[in-house]
């Protein structure tokens, strides 16, 4: 796919997604949580653009409100994961030696826990809810960002201007913040975009299992979980949220790919 094609398509989908998430708290076609049993399980266009669910709630309105929840959890977990991961990566790259070895071993340990599994563990200790979901997703991202930061930082630490700064007596903390971080910011932003897509997928999985937001707060994953019972009678309940998730993640991935090409044009086109 041409580079600007990826950028345009990914950017457009992501912009639509962001806009929906911003608008939904103020306006949706119907109140997303309003129950109307008389209107239950109406197919698309008969009631609302995308039909209604088993409690007569408007599917489109729920999807829009779900975008807000999904995106806020995803952004919070990526920010948290990126901040902690980048700090660990910088520390490992500048201190090296035992600190480096210990931190990276610790990252291997964290990486052994798939996010759904760590969410169950955290939920057992803390109960379910927004914070548990964010903590579980962020935990899984910490190793991703720390490894990325460490390898990028080590590359930059060998450059002449860093050696010159070191010779001028700058400490490793100042070097990390003034020389390394600005140079790897692009890589981190690209990775964050891609991880945002993964966070949305994971959040959907968590709320599918009931490990995410508590009902009645609308969430894409729970809409899918609820649809299982009615899959024969009301297939649209299973289709609309899935398409929405896949579409949003696709947009973020395309945008991430295009940004990655912009940050490092030498990298082979990832497609």
């Amino acid at each position: 796919m041409p580079r600007h094609g990826k950028l345009l398509l990914g950017g457009a989908i992501t912009a639509l997604f962001l806009l929906t998430a911003l608008i939904a708290p103020f306006w949706t076609p119907a109140a997303p949580t309003r129950i109307a049993i008389a209107e239950r399980l109406k197919p698309p266009l008969v009631a609302g653009l995308l039909g209604t669910d088993q409690l007569g709630r408007d599917v489109l309105s729920q999807l829009m409100a779900g975008a807000t929840n999904s995106l806020s959890i995803a952004i919070a977990s990526v920010l948290l994961g990126a901040a902690v991961g980048t700090a660990i990566g910088l520390l490992a790259a500048t201190r090296r030696g035992v600190v480096d070895e210990l931190l990276m071993r610790a990252m291997d340990v964290v990486f052994a826990f798939p996010p759904i599994v760590s969410a169950m563990m955290l939920a057992a200790a803390l109960g379910t809810g927004r914070m548990t979901a964010i903590a579980a997703i962020a935990t899984f991202m910490v190793p991703v960002f720390s490894r990325l930061t460490r390898s990028a930082a080590r590359r930059i630490l060998t450059h002449d201007y860093v050696l010159a700064a070191r010779a001028a007596g700058k400490g490793s903390r100042r070097i990390a913040l003034e020389h390394v971080l600005p140079n790897i910011a692009g890589d981190i932003v690209v990775q964050a975009t891609i991880q945002l897509g993964l966070a949305i997928l994971t959040e959907a999985g968590l709320s599918f299992l009931g490990l995410g937001l508590a009902p009645p707060a609308p969430s894409w994953g729970r809409m899918l979980a609820d649809s299982v019972t009615y899959i024969g009678a009301a297939p649209w309940l299973a289709i609309a949220p899935g398409v929405t998730i896949a579409f949003s993640v696709l947009g973020l991935n395309l945008l991430g790919d295009a940004l990655s090409d912009l940050v490092d044009p030498r990298r082979r086109q990832g497609r």
Partner: protein, 315 residues
């Protein structure tokens, strides 16, 4: 070679020890009382105390940790409160579903992704390349549990070809078991195949531009021979690495897909134990899953030694 093995084994043991400690700390130290969570907010203080005693929560932490890990090493995971049977037997039963499911999913994803990725790279910008690109972008973006729902919708509800879920065990014959695991395996495999296609394509493209491929062609090998004798073997290492890293996602996906298809696997066991507040089972299954991920990545590391002779001679 031996030294490299010993070093990796030591690191494996250290990682496993650390993993068990993390699980123990999260389940026992974080501000939360498993007994209180298990009984709900309205529990009486004396019932709570009794449950704490029963769960061993009144003993010092290090004692409880050593007791737990010591038991786990000898295969004694304790007895489940809700099932009333040894956790060990529960895990063993559930593994008989999850391992074949994961195995089938890995196999299916490789069968799809390797040919597609290789074809896409060898005919860059051709039709196969476009199909591979669209397939991998969609695969990576689509949740596996939703693919599961769609498969049920199409193949069970609409066409009636396949069971919509459940698993009757392996006693009814291999074929019957595989048939019941097929749709779940497809749901797990498609997103994996998306990632794998992308990585395979990139790896093959990388190797195609290497000088030794030109040497092979100058010898008189045709494109096909050069591709399969020289390019693909050298492109496998990164593919295998990703397969290992993806194992963690595969396990997470299994928890979801097993729930969609109501398969009595390890992931569903963890989920059910969690909803029934049987935290001993949760703790042990999580340990088991995390250990599985660590061991698989260890095996991938070993496979790497096998695939790349340059790593072998780092004596």
């Amino acid at each position: 070679m031996v030294a490299a093995m010993v070093k990796r084994l030591a690191s494996l043991a250290a990682t496993l020890a650390a993993v068990s400690m993390v699980i123990f700390l999260v389940m026992n130290v974080l501000p939360g009382d498993p007994a209180a969570v298990a009984l709900g907010t309205s529990a009486q203080e004396d019932t709570l105390a009794a449950l704490r005693h029963e769960m061993g929560l009144d003993q010092p932490l290090p004692v409880r940790y050593v007791h737990w890990v010591g038991g786990a090493i000898t295969g004694d995971f304790g007895t489940s409160a809700t099932y009333g049977v040894p956790v060990r037997g529960l895990i063993a039963d559930r593994l008989a579903v999850t391992l074949p499911l994961a195995g089938m999913a890995i196999l299916l994803s490789m069968l799809l992704a390797l040919p597609l990725g290789i074809l896409a790279a060898s005919r860059q910008n051709g039709a196969a390349d476009w199909i591979a690109t669209i397939f991998s972008q969609l695969g990576v973006a689509t949740p596996n549990f939703w693919i599961g729902l769609l498969l049920i919708l199409v193949f069970s509800t609409a066409l009636g070809w396949m069971p919509s879920g459940g698993f009757s065990g392996w006693n009814d014959g291999m074929i019957n078991g595989i048939k019941q695991l097929f749709l779940p395996a497809v749901a797990l495999a498609l997103p994996q195949a998306g990632v794998l296609t992308r990585v395979t394509r990139a790896a093959v493209l990388d190797v195609l531009s290497e000088d030794f491929v030109r040497t092979a062609r100058a010898k008189g090998l045709n494109r096909r021979q050069a591709l399969f004798r020289h390019v693909v073997p050298n492109a496998l290492a990164p593919v295998v690495t990703i397969l290992g890293l993806q194992f963690s996602f595969l396990v997470a996906g299994a928890v979801l897909v097993e729930n969609v298809f109501t398969l009595p696997g390890l992931g569903r066991l963890a989920y059910q134990a969690f909803t029934q507040r049987d935290f001993l089972v949760v703790q042990n299954v999580v340990l088991f899953i995390a250990a599985l991920v660590v061991v698989v990545n260890f095996l991938v590391d070993l496979l790497y030694l096998f695939l790349d002779p340059r790593l072998r001679s780092s004596r």
